[in-house]
Symmetry: C2
Subunit: 444 residues, 2 copies
């Protein structure tokens, strides 16, 4: 792919060119499709892609532009969707053998929002089985012998390989931040409830989040601005005024941010090489970062997450388990079986433990810090395609519903990307983006 | 007690007289205290009553009235509170041996609302142990050999015996509607989330409701109007505009109401005598009532309620069970022990089953009916003080969070009161009161 090829543009660049009449959606989508023809045999990011349907959407967008009708902020931009996000015009198979041939009747809330903003739904990207651990066919674009991470494997890989500028995924444990880090793109897991999950495969009401992939922070802000909102079928969303993510994320912080470097109780799992890289990062930040210990009671959070995820997924996939457990992977089957045995009082205790930890972490932000700096994963994407890697460095922030960004700031072994994770206060997603931009500038 | 004695006034009558300067709060409270001295040895409705403190509140109310400052709708009216409702100036012992001597630091939300409306908190009324089954000392004012019902035993008995015009209780299964029926007073269990439960002993977030006792429908409306509202500590309440319960409940229905008589799958538990009384009632209503069968899937609702109540109470009383289970009653201990064994997936399945049944019943209201007529209990208050009677005719409506009124419309064996229950659509509490008033007029 030549550098000037439209497929290489960020979403923000492409949107600007389309608005200015310097690029058509058809040219952009054609360029993405060419790129896909080149690299998809190696990367395997897509589970459904109908070139004609994508081009028809692009041509309709161009016709609308030419007609002089108002156009949305994502006008003509192709977007990839993890194949657990319902689309009325494409199959949605949830990476699950039992859901083969599933064709939803309605778009998920986020898909309606994307279409309303003018986006072209390019196709569906590979998810692990039911967004859990059992890997799909996708490979890491940086090295096909390594995992792209999961469960939003195809979305991360497709954006990393410049097959599409934007993609959506989901995170219940580490399914956005980890593949974004492994594939060297920006990943964003918003505050719980910021983006509605209606029409997306439910694993756990408490833990599920929609996630965003892009190749720039601007693009993350552009996309988040269109997707934050209320939907009546997602009880954790609330009516709210529009958040100007792009504007806030570009503002200069009023005082220079201070980061809390939290190693978490799992730091000993981090690769020596990644430890060194973090050491250098912290050194480069000088007095703008301080190491902070997580209070001891938070160490139990990984167990609470496990309890909640096992129970909620056992309940969510009860029908699959009853009707076709032999066609589920051993990982998913044994998760469900563990979940079925958990006692309700233990489940309720885990759920009840979340709010006090959020409140304690809120104090950290109120007292001194703008964001938490922490690993996105124990290291670079591991070799091999049998596992999607270790999500444990995402678990706590998912459980607490705090906004998190995966930032492609570092490089590790074999030239593979090494992500840093920046975590913000619940409800302060735009400020987290602003801090991330400051961090990028600081290290540039 | 003479008929003209202020203790015999309804709350609405007394409020009017106080506002017009024809009665002082002190006179009213004195009259109630006299009545209590007379009948309390027999009825045993109170667990805490400080005459001086009650009179001091009354005198302060009178002083405020004399000063010309604005007064609230409950100005000077004494109210009894079930002893699971926190009061900063009186003990709150939850009917539980382990909570003896407990003195909360803050008022429950409803107590703050009562005080803001000018009420005098007369004292605390007897609750069964932790608002569950094990009876307290209270006896039925109509016949001391019979139970007053429970768990809001003291509140129902105190209002019935004219010791206080208004009282609050709570209902997690049948703890307001049943004792109201057994004691021959009006009982109101509002829509789930209408009245905040902050500062009240929690048994189950899903099932707990604040309940109201009074000797007239006007009084129920008067009290509900002050207590409906939002509180930040009760996640099931919502900010809403003030509902004019008194005004709506007094309006003439635009078309004559139609009732659905629902016997429920437990009709065979109803006493023959009560069956006859319902037969007469239905006959008297003629074409304004139709018998309606509950759809078969609703029959499982009693099991769902049992699962939810067992689990939630096991979680709510985990500390009591761990620290002093030998001082809990065998009933409560075995409930907790059953709850501790329930699997989380079964609990979640029960919780998830509620919304579809509410939606199905909504259709009944949309299509044809203004309210559901159904027994409040299998018959009159049973003889004996070892049990508070059978809550099963309240279970379904509690689970579904629908508003319910117990109406003292009939008489049964031994001259004991026999209540009818009128159930409304979720969120249509005021209309339920209007229908109840129509029903009272129709039968007069």
């Amino acid at each position: 792919m030549s550098e000037g090829s439209p497929a290489a543009f960020t979403a923000s660049e492409a949107a600007r060119k389309i608005q200015q009449g310097l690029l058509t959606s058809e040219e952009l989508v054609q360029s993405c499709l060419e790129r896909i023809r080149d690299v998809e045999p190696k990367v395997q990011a897509w589970t459904f892609l109908d070139e004609d349907h994508a081009l028809a959407q692009a041509r309709a967008a161009d016709a609308r532009k030419r007609s002089g009708e108002p156009i949305g902020p994502l006008h003509g931009l192709p977007v990839g969707l993890k194949d657990i996000i319902d689309t009325a015009d494409m199959p949605t198979e949830n990476g699950c053998a039992l859901h083969k041939g599933r064709t939803p009747r309605a778009d998920a809330a986020v898909v309606s929002m994307l279409r309303a903003a003018g986006a072209v739904i390019l196709g569906k990207t590979v998810s692990t089985e039911c967004a859990y651990y059992s890997p799909g066919k996708t490979r890491n674009p940086w090295n096909p012998e390594h995992t792209p991470g999961g469960s939003s494997s195809g979305s991360a890989a497709a954006v990393a390989a410049s097959m599409v500028p934007l993609a959506l995924g989901s995170q219940t444990n580490g399914s956005v931040i980890r593949p974004a880090a492994f594939c060297g793109v920006f990943g964003f897991k918003p505050t719980h409830g910021l983006i509605p999950r209606s029409g997306i495969l439910q694993l756990s009401r408490t833990l599920d989040h929609v996630g965003l992939f892009a190749r720039s922070l601007d693009d993350i802000a552009l996309l988040a601005e269109e997707l934050a909102g209320y939907h009546e079928d997602d009880p954790d969303t609330r009516p709210r005024s529009r958040v100007p993510f792009q504007q806030i994320s570009r503002e200069e912080p009023p005082i220079e941010p201070m980061l809390a470097f939290i190693k978490t109780p799992h730091w000993d799992r981090v690769d020596p090489e990644a430890k060194d890289a973090f050491g250098e990062l912290v050194e480069a930040l000088g007095e703008r970062v301080e190491e902070v210990d997580l209070f001891p009671s938070a160490a139990a959070a990984w167990d609470w997450h496990k309890t909640i995820m096992e129970v909620d997924m056992a309940a969510s996939f009860e029908r699959e388990w009853e009707q076709g457990r032999d066609r589920l992977s051993p990982q998913l089957r044994s998760l469900i079986e563990r979940g079925r045995e958990v006692r309700a009082v233990d489940y309720k205790r885990a759920l009840g433990a979340v709010a006090p930890v959020v409140a304690s972490l809120d104090e950290l932000f109120l007292e001194r810090y703008d964001a938490i700096l922490t690993p996105a994963a124990p290291g670079v994407a591991p070799k091999g395609l049998g596992s999607t890697g270790d999500p444990r460095f995402c678990t706590l922030w998912t459980l607490l519903g705090m906004p998190a960004l995966s930032l492609p700031l570092m490089q590790g072994a074999g030239g593979l990307p090494l992500g840093a994770q920046l975590v913000g206060r619940r409800g302060f997603d735009a400020r987290l983006m602003r801090t991330a931009r400051w961090l990028g500038g600081k290290l540039a």
